[in-house]
Structures are given as structure tokens and as C-alpha cells.
């Protein structure tokens, strides 16, 4: 509990799961919950992006509200009474996961998703087992797009657009269940505005967007995260100073990422930092 008083005008008093708490007036419910170690599942939310309100997994009960409230985007208000775990909330989240599982291939989703699905005893086949029906888009040597795994969280669209790269190579096309992430007229990536920064890969929660190197290794059955190490370094291509996490397996770089909480990058990179590592491997190959 934060030891402070309401004399501070930036603080509001709320009730979180029956206990009084103080929160910054511009904090979201999710911010407060995370600060208080109250666990909330998320899928479309990412700290570095504006909430898009698509997954609805972070919903909580707010007294006086007819419907459940997405905690990622709702700012706290004075006297707000919030309940984060109840039968109503749990059932909703469970059914939402079951809806996902019937329409998306969640096999490569993050650990958090697996943990919550186990906690809520989600039955993935409840609304029908998901059947793969889209071809993996492999249009270059840098990354692949497997929209069978896409949960339409819009993170990649945001990262490609105003939230990071301002390239606008992709957007959502179509409507309803058949809507999909697409370039204009579904042109191949090399013909689109894509600059191969790979920031869409960096924010994808389900492995729908993936380094071609990782995809090839998974296809060959050689991808093994238990044998991988992560080396943190600074990108040497220019003077910005982006932090790089080099994921290395069998002494070869298989993927590059950047920490979300890094001041310089917010997790975002450019084509050089993200994909410009081939020369290192070549050197290594020549020296042995």
C-alpha cells in the first residue's frame, strides 16, 4: 500500500477487491492492479502501445456499470469499486479463451496465455476444434505471416502505424470474423510499403508473425528454446544506441529482439538492428 494521503490532488481513492487503495488519477485500472500485484490476463494490451480494446480478457467488474469494463483502457475514478475476480469475470474470460481457441491456432501463444487458460480450465475444443485453413505467407527471407495464428489484436497494425514505425504497410481489411490483417489488395510484402523493421514481429503475441529463421527451424524440428541463450548488446549500425537481445542457438543468431522497457527502443528496432546479423554468422563460419 502506498503510504500517502489524499492531500495529493493527483491521487484518488478507490476500492480494489474490497480494500481501499490510492491510485494516480490518470492511471488505468490495469496500472493499479499491476502496482498492487493483482493479476489480470491480457492479450491485445502491450505496455508500449495504446490500448485497442479488442480481446476483452482484462475485463473486471466496476460497481454501477451494466457491463464488464476493460481494465486496460479505463482510467480510475474517485470512489470506483473494482472487483477483478468473480464468477462473472472468470466465466467471461474462460469463454473468451474458448472463443479464441475455436477460431485461432494458439499453439505458439505466450506463457501467460497458457497459464490463464489452465487456471480457468478452458476447454479449447468447446466451440469446435480449430482447423487450419490459411496458407503461411512466405514472401521473403526475413519473416513469415501465419494468419491461422492471428488473434486480430491489432498490435502489429499499431506498431506499423502511428505507434512506432509510421509506415502503414498493413491494416485490417474486411469485416467481422473474416476480417484479416492485410496490405492493400493483399500485395506481397516486398511490393508494399513494408520497410522490414520487424516491429510487427516484436509485438505479435501468438507467433503469427515470425522470423523466417525461426520458422524454418520449427519446420525442421530444430527450434529448441531450452538450448538458446540471450545476449544483450547495443546495435552498432548507428549512433542511436538501441538495445539488442540476440537469441542464439548452437552458436548462431536465430532471432533478434529488444526489451520492451528499454528507454531508447520501447522494444522497436529497424531493419538493420532486427535483421542485419548475417555478416556475423558469415565471419563465424569462415573462422572455423
Amino acid at each position: 500500500m502506498i503510504e500517502t494521503t489524499l492531500a495529493d490532488p493527483r491521487l484518488v481513492e478507490i476500492t480494489l477487491n474490497g480494500e481501499t487503495a490510492l491510485a494516480h488519477a490518470d492511471a488505468t485500472i490495469l496500472d493499479v492492479c499491476r502496482a498492487q500485484d493483482v493479476d489480470i490476463p491480457t492479450m491485445c494490451f502491450l505496455e508500449t502501445l495504446t490500448p485497442f480494446n479488442s480481446c476483452r480478457l482484462c475485463v473486471v467488474e466496476v460497481a454501477g456499470s451494466r457491463t464488464l469494463i476493460p481494465s486496460c483502457s479505463r482510467t480510475v475514478e474517485v470512489g470506483m469499486e473494482i472487483t477483478t475476480e468473480s464468477e462473472r469475470v472468470a466465466n467471461t474470460r474462460r469463454i473468451l479463451y474458448e472463443m479464441y481457441a475455436s477460431t485461432v491456432d494458439l499453439s505458439l501463444s505466450d506463457d501467460d496465455t497458457r497459464r490463464w487458460m489452465a487456471k480457468y480450465e478452458v476447454k479449447p475444443g468447446r466451440f469446435g476444434e480449430y482447423e487450419s485453413h490459411r496458407k503461411v505467407k512466405i514472401q521473403d527471407d526475413l519473416y513469415i505471416r501465419d494468419y491461422d495464428k492471428c488473434v486480430m489484436c491489432y498490435r502489429c497494425v499499431a506498431a506499423c502505424g502511428t505507434e512506432a514505425q509510421n509506415t502503414f504497410a498493413i491494416d485490417v481489411a474486411g469485416r467481422g470474423l473474416s476480417s484479416t490483417i492485410s496490405t492493400e489488395f493483399d500485395v506481397v510484402l516486398p511490393d508494399s510499403a513494408c520497410v522490414y523493421c520487424g516491429n510487427c514481429i516484436g509485438v505479435c503475441p501468438t507467433g503469427a508473425l515470425m522470423f523466417k529463421s525461426e520458422y524454418d527451424m520449427r519446420e525442421a524440428g530444430s527450434w529448441d528454446e531450452s538450448r538458446q541463450t540471450v545476449t544483450t548488446t547495443i546495435c552498432s549500425f548507428c549512433g542511436v544506441g538501441c538495445s539488442l537481445d540476440l537469441h542464439v542457438q548452437d552458436n548462431r543468431i536465430v532471432k533478434v529482439s529488444s526489451p520492451l522497457d528499454h528507454d531508447v527502443t520501447d522494444g522497436h528496432l529497424c531493419i538493420k538492428g532486427r535483421f542485419g546479423y548475417a555478416h556475423i554468422q558469415e565471419e563465424a563460419g569462415r573462422s572455423t
Binding site: 490500448p51 480494446n53 479488442s54 480481446c55 476483452r56 475485463v59 457491463t67 464488464l68 476493460p70 483502457s73 479505463r74 482510467t75 462473472r88 466465466n91 467471461t92 469463454i95 473468451l96 472463443m99 479464441y100 475455436s102 477460431t103 468447446r126 466451440f127 469446435g128 488473434v151 486480430m152 502505424g161 509506415t167 502503414f168 504497410a169 498493413i170 491494416d171 485490417v172 481489411a173 474486411g174 469485416r175 467481422g176 470474423l177 473474416s178 476480417s179 492485410s182 496490405t183 492493400e184 489488395f185 508494399s192 510499403a193
Partner: protein, 548 residues
């Protein structure tokens, strides 16, 4: 002479490639022109090609991927080649309820199957076109010619137009209005006008029934130099046609209502967002605006929808005007503080705004004396389906559904079911038919007044097919933004399909119930919140299911 085509030159010059005035902000503000630009190409060519999309993208400017996302969002914009003439033929529930199923079979016999080009024409089924009182309706898009709505229509007429027979819409001439209510409003002052609206206790007529006075004061009190008034004329709820009817009766009443609203809340610009299929009403409004000239005292821009039910949701409507995909925004913030272009915005339904000149002229108290304590004034109801005289009926709040059906000349045949509130509403039980249609009685008896649609079905109607059509409607119209609605409407359709075939299981019914409340509890907007109403009520009163 303009230097480049960016500033109005008719031919490209070398300056086109390197002159840009106004900078980045002026350029991105032009995004609001995206949907009108897509309309322009669609209207003249019949579809939006890759080249056309790129040209629009370059000129606005907007990224091609984003323009494509917007174009593919709307039913009336095609991104694949279509025949030059496409007839969108209503086969929705109000038409089926009225026994108008012959048109579809006639079309199949005369022109061939749906969605199949035949010469330069093609026909497809359409959600309710909002001409339920007139008869079977068809909205026909024609490349290079004015699109046209015909109701009642026959298969022969449609076939002739698809073959290229010239047809124009007969729109009645508009006669100038005196705008007496507006003059009175200006004499009273903005604050006094808002006071009368508060006193009238009028609630929004679009479906959500929010007290208009609170909204008006909210916008007036909100800080900001730029404020908007938006008239929601995107009437798309199946079985609803009152807004179209109001505009056709007197477009000036709407313009006057908007002008008074703009004056009362201090708005700097007004928009009318009219349903894309309501071309006739749009032409009337355009003529009326020309005749009105400067009289409204505010610029009123008409924006045409492009075939998306969701754009009737206020925040989706804002996104559509702004040139984005017509998807709803999470509220709060509410439109009164952050609406169109992020500015304080008053958004009201056509019927609400049309009532305003009367409230100003006669006083809010006079208005509040009509109706009941919580539901003041007169209300329009759209009675359609199996009744003798389908149409728009105006009653004082307090009439029952049964009384409205009697007003419409009574039911034709034996009544099997009554749907109140359109696809987003619910099928009424025998008891509910005698409940006064007020907001308070409706709330107590669990009846949705919604948009004021009352569709009557007799024993000839196939209620399983009707329910399936409603489920299909929501699966088609869900924008796809949030998971409960995107997946839920589709799962609901699957299960209703199994129920209709008698192939459902107990688990299906349990799942349907679960899906219904997750959509209601966790969706982002009203579409998801109401998508399960009709199906659930059909099950509850035994219109479908019950095979055991």
C-alpha cells in the same frame, strides 16, 4: 491559376510532385475525404481498382493499406470487379413477414442465381433497406448513373434496369421553410433553449433513450473552440424506416432542428450522416440545404454511409466520417467531451432533432405534458410485416404494441409472433404485447423499444428461418473489432443453424446461453450487447427449438 492539382488545377503539372502547402497536419486532416472519394470512384466506375485506390491514397493522402482497410469495410464499396449494375434486393425479416418472398424466386427465375453476373447486371440479397411500408425494395447501384431505390419493385423492373433501361428517381420539389422555431431560439438565447430541452425531458429516439437535455448541456459546458452537431440518419435497424420517412416528409424540419441544436450548444459545424442506401432522402436533404442557404446559420455537411449497420453506433459513425474503418470506440470518453475529430460533439437521431423546433416554439413543458412521466412527448413507431397498413405511426407514449398493430389496420392472419425493436430487439410474449411502450414500462417488462420497429409475423411465417436470418444479420454486420462479438455472432449463427435443422444438442443450448451473456457483458458496443436478444427471446417463447 492553381499551381498544382493539389490546389485545384485540372491537369497535372510539374508542381504536383513537389508542392505541398499546409504541412503534415493539413494533409492528414484531409483523411475525412476518404469515404467520399471511394464513393466517387464506386459511383462512376462500379468498383475501386488497385489503381484507383492508389490514386486516392496519393491525393488525400492516406496509406494504401489503410484506404484498402476502409474500402473493404463497407458493403457498398467493391474492391473486385463487379458488373456495372448491381441490384441489392431486400430479403430481410420484415419483407418475409409481409409474405414478400416471391421477388427472390422471381429474380432467380428471370435473371438467374444471386451473386452471378448476367450481362452487365447482377443481383444480391441485402439486409433491410428501410422501405418496409412500401413493399419489396431494391437498391440498385449503377456505374456512371445515379443509384436508385425502388419500392415496391418487381423482378421485371429490376431486370430492365440491370439491362440498362434509363430510370430516374422522382423526388418531390422542396419548398423553403420559414424556420420559425430557429428564429424563436435565437430570440431566447442558447441557454434558454437548452433549458426548454431539459424541461421537455425528451429522450433520444435512436434506441439508447438518453435524456437529450443532459447531452446538450454536456456539449455546451465542454471546453473547446470547435464543437460539432452530428445527426445520426444511418437508419439500418431491420424494420425501421421512420427517419427516412421524416426526411421525405419535411427535410427542413431536420435542418431546423440541427440549426437550433448547433446554436444551443455552440457548435461550429454540423454533419448529417445518412445511410448509403437512402439516396432519395439524401437528394431531398441536399436540395433543401441549397434552398435554405445561409438561414441555418451553420455549415451542414451531408455524409453518406456505405453499407455498414455498425456505423449507426455513434462512435463508429465518427470514425466513418473521419475516414477510418467504421469501428466503435471504447467509452468513456463520451462524445459530449470527445466525439467527432476528438471535439465535443452532440449526436442525436433524426427523430429527436425533428422534435426540437416544436419544443422551442411551444415550450418544453407543453412537450412534457404529453406521454408519461419518464417518456414524454410523441413517438414514431414503424409497424411492418403481416399488418393491413404497414407504416409509420405517431402516438403519445403509453400506447401498447397491440394498439399500434390495430392502428396499422390489424394483423393479417393469425399472429404468431411480434418482434419489437428490430433485429436488436426481442420477440414479445403474449403478456408483453399489452405493455405500454414507454421507457419505464419497457424496462420493467424487459421489452426493448429500440428504434421503434414493430414487426408482426403470422402463422405463415417460418420462424426458424426468420431467427436464422437475424443471426445471419449480426454475423454479417459485426465489425470484428472485439472478440465476444466477432466470434460470438458467428458461433450464434452456427448454433441457430443446428437448432433450425433440429440437430442441436443440450450443449448447444448451454453454449448459446453462455455466448449470449458474454456478448452482452463484454462487447465494446451496442451491436454486441444486443446481438443475442432476438435469438434468446425466440428460444424462450418457443418460436424455435423445443424438438424434445
Amino acid at each position: 491559376m492553381p499551381e498544382s492539382t493539389w490546389s485545384g488545377a485540372t491537369a497535372r503539372t510539374s508542381a504536383d510532385d513537389h508542392v505541398a502547402y499546409g504541412g503534415f497536419h493539413a494533409a492528414i486532416a484531409q483523411r475525412r475525404l476518404l469515404l467520399p472519394a471511394l464513393h466517387a470512384v464506386q459511383d462512376s466506375v462500379g468498383w475501386v481498382s488497385h489503381g484507383a485506390l492508389n490514386y486516392i491514397s496519393e491525393r488525400i493522402p492516406v496509406a494504401p493499406a489503410e484506404a484498402y482497410g476502409v474500402a473493404t469495410f463497407y458493403d457498398l464499396i467493391a474492391t473486385e470487379p463487379l458488373p456495372r449494375r448491381v441490384a441489392r434486393v431486400c430479403d430481410d425479416i420484415a419483407c418475409v413477414a409481409a409474405g414478400r418472398t416471391k421477388l427472390i424466386t422471381d429474380l432467380e427465375a428471370e435473371i438467374g442465381p444471386e451473386n452471378t453476373p448476367n450481362g452487365e447486371g447482377m443481383w444480391v440479397r441485402s439486409p433491410c433497406l428501410g422501405h418496409c411500408e412500401k413493399g419489396s425494395a431494391a437498391f440498385i447501384q449503377r456505374a456512371g448513373e445515379q443509384a436508385i431505390t425502388i419500392a415496391p419493385v418487381t423482378a421485371n423492373q429490376i431486370a430492365a434496369i440491370l439491362d440498362g433501361e434509363p430510370t430516374t428517381m422522382a423526388t418531390p420539389p422542396v419548398v423553403a421553410s420559414s424556420f420559425a422555431g430557429l428564429a424563436r431560439a435565437r430570440a431566447m438565447g442558447a441557454e434558454a433553449v437548452r433549458e426548454e430541452v431539459v424541461k421537455s425531458r425528451i429522450r433520444g429516439r435512436g434506441g439508447a433513450a438518453f435524456p437529450a437535455g443532459i447531452k446538450w448541456n454536456g456539449v455546451a459546458d465542454a471546453s473547446g473552440d470547435t464543437k460539432y452537431v452530428v445527426c445520426n440518419a444511418d437508419e439500418s435497424e431491420p424494420g425501421t424506416f421512420k427517419d427516412r420517412w421524416l426526411i421525405e416528409q419535411d427535410p427542413f424540419a431536420l435542418i431546423e432542428g440541427i440549426a437550433i441544436a448547433a446554436y444551443a450548444v455552440g457548435a461550429t459545424k454540423a454533419y448529417i450522416y445518412i445511410r448509403g442506401e437512402y439516396r432519395e432522402a439524401e437528394i431531398l436533404l441536399t436540395s433543401a440545404l441549397e434552398v435554405a442557404g445561409d438561414a441555418p446559420g451553420i455549415e451542414i455537411e451531408i455524409r453518406r454511409g456505405a453499407g455498414a449497420y455498425i456505423c449507426g453506433e455513434e462512435t463508429a459513425l465518427f470514425n466513418s466520417i473521419e475516414g477510418f474503418r467504421g469501428q466503435p470506440r471504447q467509452k468513456p470518453p463520451f462524445p459530449t467531451t470527445s466525439g467527432l475529430f476528438g471535439a465535443p460533439t452532440l449526436i442525436n437521431n433524426v427523430e429527436t432533432l425533428v422534435a426540437i423546433p416544436g419544443i422551442v416554439s411551444d415550450g418544453g413543458d407543453a412537450f412534457a405534458r404529453l406521454g408519461t412521466e419518464e417518456s414524454t412527448g410523441l413517438k414514431l413507431f414503424c409497424v411492418s410485416g403481416a399488418v393491413t397498413d404497414p407504416g409509420v405511426y405517431q402516438v403519445e407514449f403509453g400506447a401498447t404494441t397491440r394498439e399500434l398493430i390495430d392502428l396499422a389496420g390489424g394483423a393479417q392472419g393469425e399472429v404468431r409472433a411480434v418482434l419489437s425493436g428490430g433485429a436488436a430487439g426481442s420477440f414479445l410474449t403474449e403478456d408483453q404485447i399489452d405493455v405500454p411502450l414507454t421507457f419505464e414500462d419497457g424496462r420493467d417488462a424487459d421489452i426493448s423499444l429500440g428504434s421503434g420497429a414493430i414487426i408482426v409475423f403470422n402463422t405463415e411465417a417460418d420462424m426458424t428461418a426468420i431467427t436464422y436470418r437475424i443471426a445471419e444479420f449480426f454475423a454479417h454486420e459485426s465489425c470484428g473489432l472485439c472478440v465476444p462479438c466477432r466470434v460470438g455472432t458467428s458461433l450464434q449463427l452456427d448454433i441457430v443453424g443446428r437448432i433450425c435443422e433440429g440437430a442441436d444438442t443440450d450443449a448447444d443450448l448451454y453454449d448459446l446461453d453462455n455466448i449470449g451473456w458474454v456478448m452482452r457483458d463484454a462487447s465494446i458496443c451496442g451491436l454486441g450487447h444486443t446481438a443475442a436478444n432476438a435469438v434468446e427471446s425466440a428460444l424462450r417463447i418457443g418460436l424455435i427449438g423445443g424438438k424434445t
